[in-house]
Symmetry: C2
Subunit: 447 residues, 2 copies
């Protein structure tokens, strides 16, 4: 098994080298071929999905899986055509992330340095349940010239297999597209094997719940792009517009409570806590939100009785549910300190009309996304205008926050000279570097 | 011991949060204070260095260390003033890497997204011997708003301690500069402790030989920026200008043979091998370079007899010495394939007058720096115009190739709204995103 995975990764490595040489037109043609093939092979894909659904419904009846999982698993005509295939075409339509000159410098007469974007290489992806994630992530990798190894949830085995076969067949033999640019893993042990291959795989992207992400992070030396927890905060400042504050808190908590960018903790300045709670807690209750309050919250929330006390655990819990922990603080500094201690550095928001307080918060909170008078729910690749989303990262290297295609590229330096040697630039009466910034673009991509 | 390191890392984490809020002026003032203090405390530093030198000379006499190590260890008046202190001032003079707006997007009227550079956080550095590396890397971290934990070579213990004390004392109590922004480790076991703290330390930079770098990479889950081997190639194409080729090969190999960007393997196209060898091998011999040739090289190198045969091991050996492995190839494709298999993906160069061959090489070789008609020795932060160098990276994420100050920063997303909620952008008759690129800059850094 381990040998099989290693062989597959070596094939992917070779495919990555070849795919990095494909032109933009070749990669886009492959993506369009995939979009068409997904529609053309609807019967094959929907039949496979029916097999997975039948097995899943049996497991649901036995209480082994949950209804939301079944919903995410289902692929029908509408989803295949309007979402999955259209999504692939939209990836094709995005700006090419590779071959871009990020900087050019004249080092000396005739000696020029370019920094040009290139694919990362081989990307390993581990995702849960939703089969459309397979198509999305594989096509993002293809667009950016990366080879990809994917492992989906076992509930979606037949659907994923059908999708992967259709995609591979659609691109087989196309100019510039190497066989083996995509490899589907099917067994859980294969994931363990993949996570060991740090010499062959450059990046792992886990897409799924906290447990999956933690497991991946703890079992590999390969860089991992993603986030485990999403413990997001809204801080309502003493100078907040209370109407805006209520809207933002309710949206941040309830617009999609199971999302990583939903708020889990509300911090409220003591000076406005009483009037704010009077409206906000009622609205939250109307939306079915349960409150866990610290002692001051429970004292000041006079119009709602019997709030559950918040314990220390609450400040570091991602509920992913209609539950909100609430704490009263005495200053923006206290809010920032609380967030920097308990936040998962994902997304945190301040509500205030005081620009100075807002600036302190935006600068002082050490998170991937920080917001002023806006809902935490905006932290998302599509909403940020990044196009299709690779994921959301709480890393502090490479990519942070919502990640689009540019998270799948790195750069190489290209130096062009005319016989230049370093020895000429050393010692007395030597040549000197000009280091002049150029607007030049390296675009010698013809074959 | 492990608890001490953890406590130090927690202090560094707090210091990093504080330092990230320091203004550019505050950070530059601290750097200038350090530059002055280094000169003002010359006696303390030179005395400490004399202690290290005395011990090192004793070890040299016992054959326990080498002469080059002693040379790197020595700090005198000239080095302290003209190199170390001047280096710190030049770091102060560089453009501020943090607080830069990389992109701004109008998401909708009144809702704006900024991507702004921020420090990474806490950087761990492990370096060998040269005490000036301590000052350089610590000041690069200070300039970029990062806290730093450093461990130097045991031979430089007293020098490093004196330098760290002088730097810490110089910045103590300065506005915006937190105590504990720099922490010096002194025991080897402390490094092991530091490498475990992936929750507190964001990046490890090893500066030293292959063995040190491999050790660090194998013993931590923290991202490591650097390179182990530097197995660099020069490929002399059939359409090469042979004079340029000889100059470039000699410079790449001999200009500083112990450097990571020196060439270790020479690939030569069969069609020009004989005339090229006639000049090049003599020139290399004149520079004291020993050749290890494959069978065809030994056959075609008619003017130098008795070349040592190259074995398979040679293709993956970094000599760091006056030795060069040489192989004859039949095409640019074969050269690219050899390099992609054996190169350490650091720096590789093609010599040719054929633009098409050059383009194939520059695109096809998967290395951090690829060069056309230029010496591999140019791959260096100073020569690339990046200012002071953090190191050279063969990573495929974050930073690749020579890394300047920008390798020490990441970004955060800042969203400013006026009560905007995500729910308004969902469903029919909803608001839509404008996603209009702006030239705006986020510059609300006043306190």
């Amino acid at each position: 098994m381990a040998d099989d995975i290693k062989a597959a990764a070596k094939t992917a490595r070779q495919a990555a080298l070849a795919l990095s040489q494909a032109t933009e037109n070749q990669r886009n043609a492959a993506l369009e071929a995939i979009a068409q093939a997904l529609t053309a092979n609807r019967d094959k894909i929907l039949d496979a999905n029916k097999r997975d659904m039948a097995a899943a419904e049996e497991m649901l009846a036995q209480g082994k899986i949950t209804l939301p999982l079944i919903k995410r698993l289902k692929v029908d005509d509408e989803k295949l055509n309007s979402e999955i295939a259209v999504g692939v075409s939209s990836v094709a339509g995005q700006e090419d992330p590779i071959g871009k000159t990020q900087a050019a410098t004249e080092l000396d007469a005739g000696l020029t340095l370019y920094r040009v974007t290139v694919p990362i290489g081989v990307i390993g992806v581990v995702f849960e349940s939703r089969p459309d994630a397979l198509v999305q992530i594989a096509t993002l990798c293809l667009k950016s010239g990366n080879a990809v190894m994917l492992k989906g949830g076992s509930e979606a085995l037949h659907t994923n297999r059908a999708l992967a076969q259709v995609m591979a067949a659609a691109t087989a033999g196309m100019d510039g597209i190497p066989e083996g640019w995509m490899h589907l893993l099917e067994a859980r042990e294969e994931v363990a094997g993949m996570l060991e291959l740090h010499a062959l795989i450059d990046l792992i992207i886990p897409r799924g719940g906290n447990e999956l992400v933690q497991h991946v992070m703890n079992h590999t030396k390969i860089p991992v792009m993603g986030h485990a927890d999403g413990i997001c905060h809204v801080y309502v400042d003493k100078d907040a517009d209370l109407d805006k504050a209520v809207r933002i808190v309710v949206d941040s908590k309830t617009q999609y409570a199971a999302s990583c960018n939903a708020a889990e903790t509300l911090l409220v300045h003591a000076e406005i806590a009483e009037p704010f709670f009077a409206t906000a807690l009622r609205e939250l209750a109307d939306h079915g939100v349960l409150i866990r309050g610290d002692a001051r919250t429970r004292k000041l929330a006079t119009n709602v009785g019997g709030l559950t006390p918040a314990t220390d655990t609450d400040w570091s819990t991602e509920y992913l549910d209609y539950i909100l922990s609430v704490k009263v603080v005495d200053s923006v500094a206290e809010a920032i300190a609380h967030i920097n201690e308990y936040s998962s550095h994902h997304t945190d928001s301040i509500v205030t009309e005081n620009q100075r307080a807002a600036n302190r918060f935006l600068q002082g909170v050490d998170s991937a996304s920080v917001m002023h008078n806006a809902s935490t729910r905006f932290a998302d690749g599509f909403r940020y205008g990044l196009g299709a989303e690779v994921g959301i990262s709480t890393n502090r290297l490479h990519s942070r926050g919502p990640v689009g295609l540019e998270g799948l590229v790195i750069y190489k330096y290209i130096v062009t000279g005319d016989g230049h040697i370093a020895g000429d630039y050393i010692g007395e009466s030597s040549k000197t570097f000009t280091h002049r910034k150029l607007n030049a673009v390296w675009e010698e991509r013809e074959r």
